[in-house]
């Protein structure tokens, strides 16, 4: 089985997917560290798992179903107080699209 490695360009790509940005020296450091960690991950290749089913959770439950009843938490004020910027009872964010003004 081929070993997985990671290049600086791939680290930059993963950062973009994760909505993180790194400067050049951080990218270099993360590439080295992630490479070292991938070496640990690659040891899993030693184990033959062709006939093994994956386990994604150990819960015994399928789901808990609640009655379809609406609850009003009356939490709007508390939620808005947590927002970094709020106005007129709404959370304020910067423009989503460029060149369309405020």
């Amino acid at each position: 089985m081929s070993e997985t490695t990671i290049s600086k360009e791939e680290v930059a790509h993963v950062a973009k997917l994760a909505k993180l940005s790194f400067d050049d020296s951080e990218l270099t450091q993360f590439t080295t560290q992630l490479g070292d960690i991938l070496n640990i991950f690659n040891t899993l290749g030693e184990v033959d798992t062709a006939a093994v089913e994956p386990t994604y959770s150990v819960t015994e439950n399928v789901n808990h179903l609640r009655d379809d009843v609406a609850h009003n938490w009356h939490q709007k004020q508390g939620l808005l107080e947590n927002a970094p910027l709020a106005s007129a009872g709404l959370i304020k964010v910067p423009a989503i699209l460029e060149d369309e003004g405020e």
Binding site: K19, L20, F22, N61, H64
Partner: protein, 489 residues
């Protein structure tokens, strides 16, 4: 000023003192807060305390004289990743600075219902990512036994606070050892219950298929009493078990005659400090002398546990931590051009390096090219680890070994070496991957630092785990040893 010594008083004796009016809940809360005020500049176990809220809760309990429940009026610390309504909860991250949840975690609600009083939020690794509490944005917590050493992590603040006698009990969370390892490093009792035993509602999600909340205490009986309160079904957590919650103190007899103990040879392999191994082996000999049978067994996939764990945990965490984007709560970066820029800048400035590393690992493990080789492969190794445990539990009652490969190391020694930090989790992560209950109790000391004895049970068999820990603790009475920091009064 009244002082209360939590080393001379377990939860039951504090409860009796309140019932007999030896002191009031208000006096107890005040004395606890004063002790924290006096000692915590050496320990940094707390991110913050909430004296006003705690004292008003205590006054209301005193007015009602409602000491029906064993925890009524007793002070505790909460790990800062448990949501507390109206009280700042940060997960020790800059990105949640100032965040005040609008609801209580289910475990907090249950403690409130039973009259327990949270006096503050305990320090931890940022979003519970770390094994030394050094990745906290706010401060570095010291070990209760030696303030130049780490307290372990990620629940290091909770563990140090109990071990130093600042509070009689605390809650932590354990995704890959974050209760058991700091309990071991501080010489106290820490329980990671079976997955599903305790509701995760209001616990800041790190890895949803692994996370569990559990108690830190000085004694096994205290631990069982706290689990009695926080365990049980919760409609708000789809993974909370509907199984009946037994009285976890019911099997604390001190008798373990005929108990079948398995000792995995892999838990004494490469990387385990020989002095730790010797101390734990002596503890196992003690259990044998008390009438348990002890056999060596094999858990052959143990060495793959760390790799499988770090892939699964980081994948789940990278998904769970997408919610921190600077829009609805917490930190928001300045000088941003548009919404995309706001997300990227907020996350890059708001998360510390260890959190970023795990988000990167998880995003990579789930990405198109790596999914089969990493995420799916790790999930298959998880199956093999579970099968290893099942085979042993077909013939044995508990599995016993060290909690951590070493005793507490020096502050600053390992924080910049992520691979060394990850590999140190080898003895605790398989328990989370399999969803089993795991307890750490003090096995003794190496060079003045505590060593943890880990006791692993069958799913939902916390009772036998506690029974084993209790018998050992009562025979050795190591919990009577007190760290110097608590003697300075």
């Amino acid at each position: 000023m009244m002082t209360i010594d939590f080393f001379d008083n377990d939860l039951t004796s504090l409860h009796n003192a309140l019932l007999n009016k030896q002191f009031t809940a208000s006096e107890l809360t005040k004395a606890t807060l004063e002790k924290i005020e006096k000692t915590d500049d050496k320990l940094h176990a707390f991110i913050m305390t909430n004296p006003e809220i705690a004292l008003s809760q205590a006054e209301s309990i005193d007015e009602k004289q409602d000491f029906a429940h064993v925890l009524s009026g007793l002070p505790l610390a909460l790990k800062d990743n448990l949501a507390t309504k109206g009280i700042e909860t940060t997960g020790a991250s800059k990105i949640l600075e100032g965040f005040k949840p609008v609801y209580d975690a289910t475990v907090v609600e249950k403690l409130n219902q039973d009259g327990a009083i949270s006096v503050g939020k305990a320090n931890m690794d940022e979003f519970a990512m770390g094994g030394s509490t050094e990745t906290s944005y706010y401060s570095k917590t010291a070990n209760a036994w030696d303030q130049t050493k780490v307290p372990g992590g990620s629940s290091g603040g909770s563990a140090a606070a109990v071990a130093a006698g600042l509070v009689p009990f605390a809650l932590g969370s354990d995704t890959g050892g974050s209760i058991r390892q700091p309990a071991a490093f501080n010489g106290i009792v820490g329980m990671k219950p079976t997955y599903g035993r305790v509701s995760r509602w209001g616990l800041f999600a790190m890895a949803s298929s692994l996370d569990q909340v559990g108690p830190f205490t000085r004694t096994v009986k205290d631990n069982a009493l706290v689990l009695n309160t926080i365990a049980g079904f919760d409609i708000k957590d789809s993974t909370a078990s509907k199984r009946e919650v037994p009285d976890f103190t019911a099997q604390l007899t001190g008798n373990i005659k005929g108990l079948k103990i398995a000792v995995p040879k892999e838990y004494f392999g490469e990387g385990i400090d020989p002095k730790v191994a010797t101390t734990v082996k002596a503890a196992i000999t003690q259990l044998e002398a008390m009438g348990a049978t002890v056999d060596e067994v094999s858990l052959p996939h143990t060495k793959y546990g760390v790799a499988a764990y770090y892939i699964i945990m980081s994948s789940e965490a990278s998904s769970n931590l997408q919610r921190y984007d600077g829009v609805r709560y917490g930190y928001r970066a300045d000088d941003v051009k548009n919404l995309e820029d706001l997300y990227v800048k907020t996350r890059s400035e708001g998360f510390g390096d260890e959190v970023k590393r795990r988000i990167m690992l998880g995003t990579f493990s789930l990405s198109a090219g790596a999914y089969d080789a990493f995420f799916k492969k790790a999930a298959k190794i998880r199956t093999l680890l579970i099968e290893d445990f099942n085979k042993v539990f077909a013939n044995y009652d508990v599995i016993v070994g060290p909690t951590a490969p070493t005793v507490a190391y020096g502050l600053g020694e390992e924080v910049d070496d992520p691979t060394a930090m990850y590999l140190a989790d080898v003895l605790t992560v398989p328990v989370n991957l399999a969803g089993l209950p795991g307890l750490s109790v003090n096995a003794g000391f190496v060079d003045g630092l505590p060593v943890g004895l880990q006791i692993i049970g069958k799913p939902f068999d916390e009772q036998t785990v506690y029974q084993t820990g209790y018998a050992f603790e009562q025979a050795t009475r190591l919990f009577e040893q007190i760290p110097d920091i608590a003697k300075e009064d």
